[in-house]
Amino acid sequence: MSADPTSLSGWGGVRLVAGREIRQRIFAKSFIWSTVVLVVLIVAGVLVAKLIGQDTTVLRVGVTSQSQQLEEAIEATAASYGATTEVTTVTEDEGRAQVADESLDALVTGTPEAFQVVTKSDLDATLSSVFSVLAQQAALADQIRDLGGDPAAVGAAVAGASVDVVSLDPPPEVDGSQVLSGYIVGILLFISLQICGQMVAQGVVEEKTSRVVELLLATVRPWQLMAGKVLGIGAIGLLQVLVLVAAGVASATLFGLTETMKVDLGATAAWVIVWFLVGFTMYALLFAAAGALVSRQEEVGSVTTPILVLMMVPYIVGVSIAPWAPDSPYVQWLSYLPFTSPLIMPIRVALGAVPQWQIAVVLLINILIIPVLVWFAGRVYSNAVLRTGGRIRLREALRAG
């Protein structure tokens, strides 16, 4: 038979192990369903963003030929309240009919100096303010004219007067779409890293429980088995993240959110993928080492809890504090530290509050730590994976061999 034993001594063996992980998991019901559920959640999240965006509804105001002069004043005043208006010229009868069937929010009748507003039941709060201002300006213009002044000149002078505000610590401008992307990014990364990390730990323990590890280690070295498992599950996780990011970007584009959104969709998506890869590598190595310490699935929880807590802290800070206070010291510090940064830095990126050089430095720190983790996890894994029975203490696993 064609056997070439040397071809498997290095990455050939790793590739075989990784290939098995991918084939076994990609068609597993749990993987497909978790992906479907997450896609649905992300599309729903984008939909929510769209609905929140529509909150700034357009106020429809009708004017008659007599009150037509008010059109500009209405739009300008409404804009100062942050509202958009759509002014149409109608006859009074048409206008009243349209107010009645709610295709107009308000109809302005009478002359620009003395106008009335027709509405169905209650006048919209913003419109109410707008018309009050207009009425006040009309009254003011009357008085100015009576005193022999020029209302237009006064109006221009008033409009030109403003206060210069010097802000010493300007609050970062974060809009709704950024907050929401921050949420989605934070939750997506946490769930993906956690699912994939647990997969690694459970995969390691499955091999120990079923004792197949003994058969495998008669042909491949422990580091090959561990690397293959981490890479295989990493590929699966990356695929899932790509699908989810694509779902998010596609739905945001389809729902037409991209024009109104302040969030930088491309950068956010790209950073999610980069941080997933870095975060996965770091956490997967920890999970692999942890899994090797126990022999039964029931014990997995006891060794993975510290790692989960390590993931939970940046996640909770990331979704509960970061969107409202991206500059909070907690958020900042956790985004600089290794292990916590992969979960919180992408949230800050989505919120648009990080300079590029900072991202690069933090990323580099994380990447530099990976070789240390490889050494650590490789040692613990090799020493512990063949020892079945009770839970092995970490110190023991590090020392043995």
Binding site: M1, S2, A3, D4, P5, T6, S7, L8, S9, G13, L16, V17, R20, R23, Q24, E206, E207, S210, R211, V212, V213, E214, L215, L216, L217, A218, T219, V220, R221, L386, T388, G401
Partner: protein, 331 residues
């Protein structure tokens, strides 16, 4: 002729000495049965041979060279604790294991098909291992040990949990592999099976080889036994035969152990005849189980051992440890 040599392996777990300078050799084309009580060190030896465990000292050699990482790829191994992915399909699993041993995809598939066919699990290729009965899982486990066409077989209790038909299939496969030139090392507690199947047997106790050789050679190491049926003889008839000892009595039939000196049994026969008529006088062939019990109990209770192994052991039989462990008359 190449041979699998286990050379002075030692391994300790803390204060427990699992292997104590254990040595033996399995020649190519030979089936070697490895027997011993639980915890005697059989699995430890096999795990060391497969590189799954590291020995404190000693070496495992194949064809004169240390059995290294690449060499171990050519070993077919069946661990004591059965190990297969429970949720992986039988066929995929065997192909994967064959690939790990260095077969290309086509050869791996062909080999998987060959062995599942041969071991009677061809119909279960598409099923997950956990859905199979224990016996069928065992057959798949054997297929996993054979799927890469190994040149050496190391099987830890391959017969446990098998039905009689599967035992026959397994025995035939082991014999076939040995005939094809592979050294076959397996451990078992089913001593009748070992006796029937093995070319040579090694008895291990407390990490040392107590005795090894063909069953016939092992037999020669213990004192010969004779069955005497003398219905009318009084219970004390044997006192006339010096050195002889009663092993058991059932009605008028007595099993007597005689010294291995030439014609020692004749004095027993004479003593029996002197006490009355003798209906039967036959040589008892000790079964491997009896030999095993004899060897193991001898080393377990050295002071109480009534007769140490005879000084002039037949050639080819090593009873070194038994002798050294017995602090009885010989020490």
């Amino acid at each position: 002729m190449p041979a699998l040599e286990i050379d002075r392996l030692s391994k300790s777990y803390g204060s427990l000495r699992a292997l104590d300078a254990l040595s033996f050799t399995v020649h190519a084309g030979e089936i070697f049965g490895f027997v011993g009580s639980n915890g005697a060190g059989k699995s430890t030896t096999m795990r060391i041979a497969l590189g799954v465990l590291a020995a404190d000292s000693g070496e495992v050699r194949w064809d004169g060279a240390p059995l290294g990482f690449d060499g171990r790829r050519r070993v077919g191994y069946m661990p004591e604790e059965r190990g297969l992915y429970p949720k992986m399909k039988v066929g995929d699993q065997l192909v994967y294991l064959a690939r790990l041993h260095g077969l290309d995809p086509a050869a791996a598939r062909a080999s998987m098909e060959h062995w599942t066919e041969k071991l009677g699990v061809a119909g279960r290729r598409g099923d997950e291992v956990q859905k199979l009965s224990l016996g069928n899982q065992q057959r798949v486990q054997l297929a996993a040990a054979l799927v890469h066409d190994p040149t050496i077989l190391v099987l830890d209790e391959p017969f446990s949990g098998l039905d009689p038909v599967a035992v026959d299939v397994m025995s035939a496969v082991l014999r076939e592999r040995a005939d094809a030139g592979a050294p076959v090392l397996f451990s078992s507690h089913q001593l009748d099976l070992v006796e029937r199947l093995c070319d040579r047997v090694g008895i291990i106790r407390a990490g040392s080889m107590v005795a090894s050789g063909t069953v016939e050679e092992l037999r020669a190491t213990s004192a010969p036994r004779w069955l005497v049926d003398a219905p009318t003889a009084p219970e004390t008839w044997l006192s006339a035969a010096p050195g002889a000892r009663v092993v058991s009595r059932a009605g008028s039939r007595t099993v007597v152990e005689v010294p291995s000196s030439p014609d020692a049994e004749q004095s027993v026969l004479r003593a029996a005849l002197a006490a009355g008529p003798v209906h039967e006088f036959t040589r008892q062939r000790a079964s491997l189980s009896e030999l095993f019990r004899h060897v193991v109990s001898q080393s377990e209770t050295p002071d109480a051992a009534p007769s140490a192994p005879p000084a002039g052991s037949p050639a080819g039989v090593t009873t070194t440890s038994a002798a050294s462990l017995s602090k009885g008359p010989l020490a």
